[in-house]
């Protein structure tokens, strides 16, 4: 008995090591990027303030550039507004005929207080949370309107978004002005390019063509700019293209972002999961 106790004493550190390591590996194996986002959201309640301070300093340094970009955007929007006003006068009589509810999309802005580029699972931390009306699955866009990611976790004052530079990120994209769509994902190598995979072989992508969201995914409105075709190659079986897309959003210089919520999304999803739809799919 004494020998047994001595034996256990001589190896208890090794046992402890194996147990702890196994527990850690088990936890890691069962985690997803959603677990990680939740963990980060929780720790941001403690360190978010300090991150916010540093983000403030960084923002101040880029104010000039941001101002220029904003004025450009204002100019573009003014131009569009003028066009719409013109069109509106013409269409006013028609519009009186029908009741127009609130618009389908709801917008909000936020400041990026945490951003990484050097991991496989990159996440963005934003300084707006549930009390500002932010909710999960809102789309995150750069100030020039290009795609950045979508919200995966929220607390009262902060939210965490999955960046497009995350190997778990998936959405659908297409070449502008065509109907061929593929899936957009990141292969973890270059923070300036993403992949548009499984694009039909009839699409014939040319370098420089714009790639936009297809609107098939639940997170992004249709026709949000993703980037430009850099190179494309057919796969081995010559059935589809794998396209490298240069990102329009500059992920390393992200200071402010626009958040977009789709008011119809819940209604559409409810409809998709409704009993009637299920019944029909079962019969087939």
């Amino acid at each position: 008995m004494r020998k047994l106790i001595e034996f256990i004493r001589s190896i208890y550190v090794a046992v402890l090591f194996v147990v702890l390591e196994a527990a850690a590996i088990g936890y890691y194996a069962h985690s997803s990027s959603y677990t990680q986002a939740r963990l980060l959201a929780r720790s941001n309640q403690v360190v978010g303030g300090v991150h916010g301070f540093f983000a403030g300093v960084r923002r101040y340094l880029f104010l000039g550039r941001e101002n220029r970009e904003l004025t450009q955007r204002v100019a573009r929007l003014e131009e569009q507004l003028a066009q719409y006003q013109e069109a509106e006068t013409a269409a006013r009589l028609d519009s009186y005929m029908q009741e127009i509810g609130e618009s389908r999309y709801r917008f909000a802005t936020a400041v990026v207080v945490g951003n990484t580029l050097n991991r496989m699972q990159n996440l963005l931390t934003l300084n707006r949370g549930r009390k500002d009306g932010i909710e999960e699955e809102m789309a995150v866009l750069a100030p020039d309107g290009s795609m950045v990611g979508y919200i995966v976790a929220c607390t009262e004052r902060y939210s965490v978004a999955m960046s497009v530079l995350n190997t778990s990120f998936r959405t659908s994209g297409k070449i502008v002005d065509t109907d061929y769509s593929g899936s957009i994902y990141w292969d973890g190598t270059d923070p300036n390019t993403v992949i548009l995979g499984e694009l039909s072989k009839y699409a014939e992508p040319q370098p420089g063509q714009e790639v936009v969201t297809a609107g098939l995914s639940e997170y992004f409105p249709a026709d949000v700019l993703i980037g430009w075709v850099e190179s494309a190659e057919l796969n081995e079986t010559k059935t589809s293209y794998t396209v490298r897309v240069r990102l329009a959003a500059e992920m390393s210089r992200l200071n402010e972002v626009i958040l977009v919520a789709d008011r119809d999304r819940y209604e559409i999803r409810e409809l998709q999961q409704s009993e009637q739809v299920e019944q029909h799919t079962r019969q087939n």
């Binding site: 090591f17 702890l20 850690a24 986002a37 720790s43 540093f54 580029l117 050097n118 292969d187 973890g188």
Partner: protein, 172 residues
């Protein structure tokens, strides 16, 4: 007691540096230095194995919750802490271990200490980046990340060690 306060200090400094400085260095996808491992390097040579393991666990859990990584820091830090006595005996010699004290370039000689720092950092970074990639398809890419990040971690680790051990007498 004198040492404990020192070590709480160095723990806080390495963690804060990692979270607020090195985690925000978004320069390249290849560069992700994890300098907090220098805390394990700096623990006394004659520390009990269970103390080492406990410190490793605490450090790993702290970094996991700060980085929002589900256990990956703990997985990488625990083996470093566990195998440190054996590695120290191999690299620094058994006499040095028996005498104890804080490992530093003055105490062990620059070459031996550098080797010690490099070995622990490499083990830690290798586990961390392999687990993060979780695939062999980009093996070269992952290897490059390990090499570049380890080099930067060792360089900064060396500076931190010099600052931490500058005012200490050669032996405590």
């Amino acid at each position: 007691m004198y040492r404990t306060i020192h070590y709480i200090g160095i723990f806080a400094i390495t963690v804060l540096l990692q979270v607020f400085l090195f985690d925000n260095l978004s320069i390249s996808v290849y560069l992700n230095p994890l300098i907090y491992i220098v805390f394990i390097v700096l623990l006394p040579l004659d520390a009990q194995p269970v103390t080492l393991l406990g410190s490793g666990l605490l450090l790993g859990l702290t970094m996991d919750s700060a980085m929002g990584a589900a256990g990956i820091n703990t997985i990488a830090t625990l083996p470093v802490a566990f195998f440190r006595p054996q590695l120290a005996a191999m690299i620094c010699g058994r006499e040095n271990i028996r005498e104890g004290g804080i490992p530093s370039p003055e105490r062990l000689g620059s070459r031996k200490f550098f080797l010690f720092l490099l070995t622990l950092t490499l083990i830690h970074h290798t586990i961390f980046f392999l687990l993060e990639a979780l695939s062999w398809s980009h093996l070269l890419h992952t290897l490059l990340r390990i090499v570049v990040s380890s080099a930067v971690s060792v360089a900064f680790g060396w500076i931190i060690v010099r600052i931490f051990t500058a005012k200490l007498p050669v032996r405590i």
